[in-house]
Symmetry: C2
Subunit: 426 residues, 2 copies
C-alpha cells in the first residue's frame, strides 16, 4: 500500500475558507446556506473547476450540472475511479455535510498532482447537483438521474420549481452549469464511486470510533398526508360540533413519533406542516404534512408505515368528527447495499490508518448520492464522526483531525482499488 499522505492543513484551510466565502451564515454562526444553483453555489463551483483544471484535470459538466473533474490514468481503456459528494447545503446547514467529501476529493487530486503520482485508472472528483433537495424538491436528485434508477427522469427534474417559481433548467442555465455531457452512467460512467461523508449521527462518537466503514444505506420512504375537515367560526362553533383538521393532524403527528419510538423499527419524522387557513378565527379545514420513514430494510419501512397508518385509521374512528385523510407515497429509496470490493478497499485503508479498534462497520441512516451510484457501479462510503451527532444544523461539527483522517482514508481506498484494477489487468 502507498505511503502517500494528504496535507491536513491544506484540506482544512480550503474547506473553511471556501465556506466562509460562499454561503456562510452571519457570524457568530458557523453554519451554511448554500442552496443548490444559487449564486453562492455558482461561485464555489467556478472556483472548484478552476482548481481542478490547474491540477491537470479534464472537466465535464453534464445535463444536470454535475461536475466531473478527471485526472488521467496510465490505462487506455479504464473509466475513472470517482470520489463524489456535494457542495450544496440545507437552508440552515453546516460546513461538513457534502462539502467535506468534495474538498477531500480535491485534496486527493492535489496530493496526486503534487507528488506526480501515476494511477492506473483515471481518478475523478464529482460534485453532484442538488443532493439536499432543499431548494428543488427531491433529495439526491442529480445522482438519481445519472443512475437512471430513480423514478424521476431528466425532463421531470428540469421542470421542477423552487418556491419562487424558478424552473430548475433555467436555474442551471443561469449559473452556467447546464452542460452537454449526458447525465447517464452508461455514457459517462465510473469504475467505482467512493464517498467520504460525516456520519450525521451519534454512533461513532458514542462508540469511540474514528472511521465508519459503510456497508449500506438504509431504506427510506416519504408519504404526503392530507387531512380535511370543515371550516367554522372559532367563536361560535361549539367544541362538540367541530371537524378540526389540525386537531386530527396533531394526534397523527404525535402518533408517528410514539409508534416509531415504540416499534424500534427505525425513525419517522414529520418535518413540514402547512395549513390552508391563515385566519386565527377559523377552525382549520385542510392540513398537509409529510412523513419521512427510514429503516434498515425495505420490509421494516413497510412494517413501520403499516403500523402508523393503522393508528391513523383508529384515531379518525375515535375522533368521529367528520375529518378524513389521504396518504400518498411521494418518494422512496430502497435499501442500498454497497459493493464488497469497495467496502474492502475502505476497510483495508482504515485498518492501516487507525487500526481495528478505531473502525466500525455501519449502515448509513441518511441518504447519499452513493445510494444511487451503488445501483450501477461498485460503491462504498467512509464516515467520520459528527460532534454530538448534530447535522442539518449550523452547529454541525467534525474536528479538523477527523476531516483529515477521512481524506487520508479516501486517498488510500482509491489507491488500493486502483492497484487491484491494475493487478487484475496484468
Amino acid at each position: 500500500m502507498s505511503s502517500l499522505r494528504i496535507n491536513s492543513d491544506r484540506l482544512n484551510y480550503t474547506l473553511q475558507s471556501t465556506c466562509s466565502q460562499w454561503g456562510a451564515l452571519p457570524a457568530p454562526s458557523t453554519g451554511m446556506r448554500r442552496l443548490t444553483l444559487s449564486q453562492e453555489d455558482k461561485q464555489v463551483r467556478d472556483w472548484l473547476v478552476e482548481e481542478c483544471k490547474s491540477l491537470g484535470c479534464e472537466v465535464k459538466i453534464d445535463q444536470m450540472g454535475n461536475i466531473f473533474a478527471i485526472r488521467p490514468g496510465t490505462a487506455k481503456d479504464k473509466k475513472p475511479i470517482a470520489m463524489g459528494s456535494h457542495l450544496d447545503t440545507q437552508p440552515a446547514g453546516g460546513r461538513y455535510d457534502g462539502i467535506l467529501g468534495v474538498m477531500a476529493a480535491l485534496e486527493v487530486l492535489r496530493t496526486l498532482h503534487e507528488t506526480k503520482t501515476d494511477t492506473y485508472c483515471p481518478i475523478a472528483l464529482v460534485n453532484w447537483t442538488n443532493e439536499e433537495g432543499a431548494r428543488y424538491p427531491g433529495a439526491m436528485m442529480a445522482s438519481g438521474v445519472w443512475s437512471t434508477k430513480s423514478s424521476t427522469p431528466l425532463e421531470a427534474c428540469w421542470g421542477t420549481l423552487d418556491k419562487d417559481g424558478i424552473i430548475m433548467k433555467k436555474a442551471l442555465k443561469d449559473i452556467g452549469y447546464l452542460g452537454i455531457t449526458p447525465c447517464d452512467y452508461r455514457e459517462n460512467g465510473f469504475e467505482s464511486h467512493f464517498e467520504l461523508h460525516i456520519e450525521q449521527g451519534p454512533i461513532l462518537e458514542r462508540e469511540k470510533k474514528t472511521i465508519g466503514v459503510v456497508t449500506a444505506v438504509q431504506a427510506m420512504m416519504w408519504f404526503a398526508v392530507r387531512i380535511s375537515g370543515v371550516e367554522g367560526h372559532a367563536g361560535t362553533t361549539p367544541m362538540t360540533h367541530r371537524s378540526d383538521a389540525l386537531v386530527t393532524a396533531s394526534r397523527f403527528i404525535t402518533a408517528v413519533r410514539d409508534i416509531a419510538r415504540a416499534s424500534e423499527l427505525g425513525v419517522a419524522t414529520v418535518g413540514v406542516i402547512n395549513s390552508d387557513t391563515s385566519s386565527q378565527a377559523t377552525i382549520p379545514a385542510g392540513i398537509n404534512f409529510i412523513i419521512d420513514i427510514r429503516c434498515s430494510t425495505d420490509e421494516m419501512v413497510d412494517q413501520l408505515a403499516g403500523q402508523i397508518f393503522k393508528r391513523f385509521h383508529e384515531i379518525v374512528e375515535q375522533e368521529n368528527n367528520g375529518t378524513s385523510y389521504k396518504t400518498t407515497r411521494t418518494w422512496g429509496l430502497p435499501e442500498s447495499k454497497f459493493h464488497e470490493t469497495c467496502i474492502e478497499a475502505v476497510r483495508t485503508a482504515a485498518l492501516k490508518e487507525v487500526g481495528a479498534d478505531q473502525i466500525m462497520e455501519m449502515k448509513s441512516k441518511a441518504g447519499h448520492d452513493s445510494a444511487w451510484t451503488s445501483r450501477v457501479v461498485p460503491t462504498s462510503m467512509i464516515f467520520v464522526p459528527s460532534k454530538d451527532g448534530i447535522s442539518h444544523n449550523p452547529n454541525e461539527h467534525t474536528s479538523p483531525e477527523h476531516c483529515a483522517l477521512g481524506a487520508q482514508v479516501l486517498l488510500q481506498s482509491v489507491l488500493h482499488y486502483d492497484e487491484q484494477q491494475k493487478l487484475q489487468a496484468s
Copy 2:
C-alpha cells in the same frame, strides 16, 4: 310604534347582486372573498357611497376608511343613531357575515327616504373597516380605533402589513378611503349603535327562534405560542435523542381541544400554525401557533387559559426532550355588556314583529364592531339564524325571510329608540 315596513325583495336582491359583482368565489360556490381594502372592497364601497348620496345622505370617510352615511333628522343638536356592520369578508367566507348588517342599514335608509319619513335624530349607516382581521391582523380593527378603547392606536393600525408587505395606510390611500374625519367617537360620535348580524352559531336554529336579542359579546383572548427545539437530521437522529418542536406542538394543540371540551368553560381553537423549517428531512426546531379562547366572562377566559397552560407545562415536563415554549398574550376583548335602552328597543321591535315565542336573549360568541362601540355609546345587536350554525365558510347561509325579518327589526329598533329620544327632549 311605526307601521313602516322594509322591502324584502329589494333588500335580498341588493344583497345578492352586490355579492355576485364584487368578491364572489367562482360558482358553484356561493361564498365570498372580499378582503378589506381590496379592489372588490373598493368597488362595493364606491357603489354604497353613491347609493347613500342618492338617498340624501351626507357621507364622511374617516382616517381608518370607515364610511358614515348620515340622513339628517329634525333635531338640531342630536348625533346620529347608527346602524353599523362591515362589508369585508374572510378569505373564504360567506355572503351574510357583516354584509347583511350593512345592506339592511341601506334598506332602512331607502325605506325612510321612499316614505319621506322624518326622524328626530339623524340616522346613519356605518361600514366599519377590517372587521375580519383577515388581511390585516387585528379583528374589529377600525371600530376599535374609533372607540379609543382598543390597545392598538391609529398609527399602529396604519403601520400593519398584509402578507404582501403592503402597509395599511397605503392600502387605504390606494383605494381612495384614507379620509380626514377623525377616527374617534369623541369627534364623530353617535347617540347609539345598532347592528344586525347573523348568529354564526347553531343556537337560534336549534331552539327554533328567529330573532336573537343580544345582550353582550363574550370575552375573548389570543395567545401566541412559540415552541423551540433542536434541528436535526430526520434520518440519523435516533427517536430517543430528538428535541422535536412539532411533536411538542402537536401534543399542545390536542390538549387545547381536550381541555376546552372537558372544562365546558368556553371554546379554544388553534387556527394558524407555522413551522420554521421547510425541509422534509429536518426535525423541526421552531413552531408558532395562536390560541383563540372565548368564554362568557373574562374570569372564565382566565380560568380556561390557566388550565391550558398548566397542561402545557406538564407536557413539556413529561416529554423532557429539551423543547421549550413561550406564550404571549397578543390580543384580547373583555366581555362587552350591551346597553339596556338599546336592548329594550330591540326587544320591543322583535316582540311586535314575531311575538315572544320566536325571540331569545343571548350572548354573542363572536366578536363584532358593536363590542367596541358598546364601550363608548349605547349599543345592542340583533341576531338572525345561521343555517346549521355555519360561518366563516362559503356555505354560510341565512334565508331571505330571516334577512328581511332582521332588517325590519333593525328599522323598528331604530325608530323606537328615536321616538324615545324625542319624548325625552319634549
